[in-house]
């Protein structure tokens, strides 16, 4: 009889308790993996943001706009491969089918050649260039608003008054999982020529530029900002990645709380596991005395107990990973994606592996104290205990 057999047999001596403990470990793994998946998805925006693309906007505030003529000066900077621009529209659905979606006016000549992760069929692009009020939507937004190419779409804005009428010319396909599928792009000139946008005439929200060499992004950013340093409207330029990173600070407190909570569930799991093992060990003290008496060493006893603890937690870990796949990838993910909060919400395999490894590792930790206590008992004392 080896260690594994002994541990396995012991596991089923109190079937009800073992099943409950396995369940507790599984639930803990599920919670841990769910929280960590959320954190990973949150960070994905930063991790996958393009580092070969620069964003330029007003230095003082995201609500302030830049003169359109800045475009030519950005384009003239050596090292800039291509530039495009857009303005925030503050779009909202008059029928309130979705609480929030991104809507912006972009240059129809250049937008999709710089934002290459949003793929648009050449025919759709041609159609857009011919249609002044043409709009291109993400698939999730199109589904929510129940429109398909060729349809008329009426949108309102919290910046510009009244109804705005568009013609849906097509959808864009996300080539990266971080692309927002809940957004809408329409032509900037359509906005600029409307009298209701008079106070933003010939102004643009931000400039996006593709650069030849990603390593030059910091230097190029400084060069662009320097051009406008003496003007009334100063700019701030950063790589997309740096921008995402710099605004993560606003969520850092929340992310930290999530992190702490994910540690707390591991502690609870360890406590439950240790409790189960301690109870089993207490019941079997007499037995361990017998084992010692027939020649097993204290090390063997430690091995038996820790082995049982690890075995329970491994089974719990496997069940937990299964539950996570079912719950996060099957239920929560599609729901969250449908709301448009995260573009692709799936538990990364690294998170699943980590959760499983932690469960197994903490199984060992939980077994150690009861194991040492049982093994260090004198054989005669252990035998005397009959309870």
């Amino acid at each position: 009889m080896n260690l594994a057999t002994y541990a396995r047999r012991n596991m089923f001596r109190r079937r009800g308790r073992t099943i409950l403990t396995v369940l507790a470990v599984a639930v803990a793994v599920l919670i841990f993996a769910t929280i960590r998946t959320t954190l990973a998805m949150w960070n994905a925006g930063v991790d996958e943001a393009a580092s070969d693309r620069l964003a330029t906007r007003h230095k003082i505030s995201i609500t302030m706009l830049l003169p359109k003529r800045y475009m030519d000066e950005v384009r003239a900077t050596p090292g800039i491969a291509a530039s495009t621009w857009a303005s925030w529209f503050g779009a909202k659905d008059p029928l309130k089918r979705t609480p929030f979606f991104a809507g912006f006016a972009a240059d129809h000549e250049t937008w999709f050649s710089v934002m290459t992760e949003m793929k648009v069929e050449p025919a759709v692009l041609e159609e857009w260039k011919r249609t002044p009020n043409g709009a291109i939507l993400g698939d999730i937004l199109a589904r929510t608003l129940q429109v398909k190419p060729g349809d008329r779409l009426v949108i309102q804005s919290d910046i510009f008054p009244g109804d705005w009428e568009f013609k849906v010319v097509g959808l864009y396909t996300p080539l990266k999982r971080t692309v927002d599928r809940n957004s809408m792009v329409f032509r900037w000139d359509y906005l600029n020529n409307d009298p209701r946008a008079e106070f933003f005439k010939d102004k643009i929200g931000w400039v996006m530029s593709r650069i030849d060499d990603p390593k030059a992004s910091a230097r190029l950013s400084r060069e662009i900002d320097k051009k406008f340093d003496e003007r009334d409207d100063q700019t701030i330029t950063m790589s997309e990645r740096a921008f995402s990173l710099s605004f993560m600070g606003a969520f850092s407190a929340l992310l930290f709380v999530f992190f702490v909570v994910s540690i707390a569930i591991l502690l609870i799991m360890t406590l439950i596991l240790a409790n189960t093992i301690a109870m089993s060990v207490r019941e079997r003290t007499h037995e361990y005395g017998v084992l010692r008496a027939v020649g097993f060493k204290p090390g063997h006893i430690v091995g038996f107990i820790v082995g049982e603890s690890v075995l329970i937690s491994i089974v719990g870990g496997v069940v937990g990973v299964g539950l996570t796949l079912l719950f996060v990838n099957g239920l929560m993910g599609p729901a969250v994606e449908g709301m448009g909060m995260f573009p692709a919400f799936r538990a990364p395999s690294s998170v699943l592996l980590f959760a499983f490894a932690l469960a197994a590792g903490l199984g060992m930790v939980a077994g150690i104290i009861p194991a040492i206590r049982a093994s260090s008992l004198k054989v005669t004392d252990a035998l005397r205990r009959i309870d």
């Binding site: 309102q156 009334d232 100063q234 993560m248 929340l254 439950i272 109870m279």
Partner: protein, 388 residues
């Protein structure tokens, strides 16, 4: 009924097991109560400042001060309305300019965040009686002086007393004081003079919003109806209290939902923990239970006794959890409000209701976790148990 002392002593005999289970439950209650306290903090931050007898006027469809603009002629017309409270020395109508600026965190991380700047006219500070300057002094009207809310004082580069920041090139604003506003979201803003800020930003004569003190809260419905009926004005009118609630409902809903969901998932683990412990207790005490039955205690008394013990166990954890969660009231955390694009700082607020609900939550966990083991205990046959 089995004496309660029996249960309490039983719990204390098995210190390790009781302790481990109670600590587990304590952590669950901690998370649960913490979530409710954060929700209360947001409610306090956004709802507290709002008054029912103050109406806020925004451009129709703008939903928030940030994207709204109200023309000077509308402001002038509002001043003529009969519903405006006219008290000597106090403004009845104020027009304010609200903008957000990008500010760098002072912690040296290079992180950026959005800060709300409110330009208020002379009399705007007195318009809110809850507002108190706690350090330095209030800015002089018509100057480039500003004061900063207590919650964000020192959080950003240049936005602390004695420092200055730029709203535009060579347009520095001098921070001269720190203010409190009963924990409301004003404490996450910077306040200065409306005209000076509007000029610095190159804004036209329009303001972002108008606030009107009504002679009484009951005037509101007619006031709203008559203004919104006039399509030329193109305005929407809300009670200030409703407006502030609306500004945070998504954030509050998101946070409370998120953390209560986590706490409920946690509670599943804790209930399993309680069930394991109570199961063990029943298994180890079969002989005791048999004796109790032999002495004449009914099955129902045994059932009740063990359920009670489970509830005690959980309440012990709940008490520890609710006691420790009070530590959170010393902390506050900044968070981005998606609806206003700006950061607000939220504290954890404890109320007696939250404490009671949390303790009740722990006892329910004990009840559910202890039910099955208690049924097992009640089924013990006295003869077999005493035979051993």
């Amino acid at each position: 009924m089995v004496p309660v002392r029996y249960n309490i002593r039983s719990l204390f005999v098995r210190k390790l097991t009781t302790g481990a289970t109670a600590i587990g439950i304590a952590m669950v209650v901690f998370v649960f109560a913490g979530a409710l306290m954060a929700g209360e903090g947001i409610k306090r931050a956004m709802g507290n400042a709002g008054r029912d007898d103050i109406a806020i006027v925004l451009r129709d469809g703008s939903d928030a001060e940030l994207s709204s603009s109200v023309k000077p002629e509308v402001l002038g017309m509002l001043r003529e309305r009969p519903e405006v409270a006219r008290v000597e020395g106090r403004e009845g109508v104020i027009g304010e300019v609200v903008v957000i600026i990008t500010a760098e965190l002072a912690d040296g991380s290079g992180g950026l965040s959005n800060v709300m700047i409110r330009g208020t006219p002379a009399g705007g500070i007195e318009f809110r009686p809850e507002l108190k300057v706690v350090r330095g002094r209030a800015p002089k009207p018509g100057t480039n002086e500003v004061m900063v809310g207590r919650a964000i004082s020192g959080r950003f580069k240049g936005i602390a007393t004695g420092q200055s920041f730029d709203l535009r090139r060579n347009r520095p604003f001098q921070v001269v004081g720190v203010f409190e506003a009963a924990g409301s979201s004003y404490e996450s803003e910077v306040w200065g003079d409306a005209d000076v800020i509007a000029t610095a930003l190159g804004r036209s004569a329009s303001v972002s919003s108008a606030r009107i003190r009504l002679t009484s809260a009951s005037q509101f419905p007619t006031f709203k109806a008559s203004l919104e009926a006039d399509k030329r004005l193109g305005v929407e009118v809300m009670r200030e209290s409703d407006y502030l609630k609306k500004q945070s409902e998504q954030l509050q809903g998101f946070l409370v939902f998120m953390f209560v969901a986590i706490a409920v998932m946690f509670s599943v683990a804790a209930m399993i923990g309680a069930a394991i412990t109570m199961n063990g207790a029943v298994a180890n005490r079969t002989r005791e239970i048999g004796t109790l039955r032999a002495l004449g205690f009914s099955r129902r008394a045994i059932l009740f006794s063990f359920v009670l013990e489970a509830i005690f166990l959980a309440a012990l954890g709940g008490a520890v959890g609710t006691a420790f969660v009070l530590v959170l009231t010393r902390f506050q955390f900044p968070i981005m409000n998606f609806q206003t694009f700006s950061e607000i700082v939220i504290g954890f607020r404890a109320t007696p209701t939250i404490m009671a609900v949390s303790l009740g939550f722990s006892m329910i966990m004990g009840l559910i976790g202890g039910l099955v083991p208690a049924i097992r205990a009640a089924r013990v046959s006295p003869v077999e148990a005493m035979r051993g």
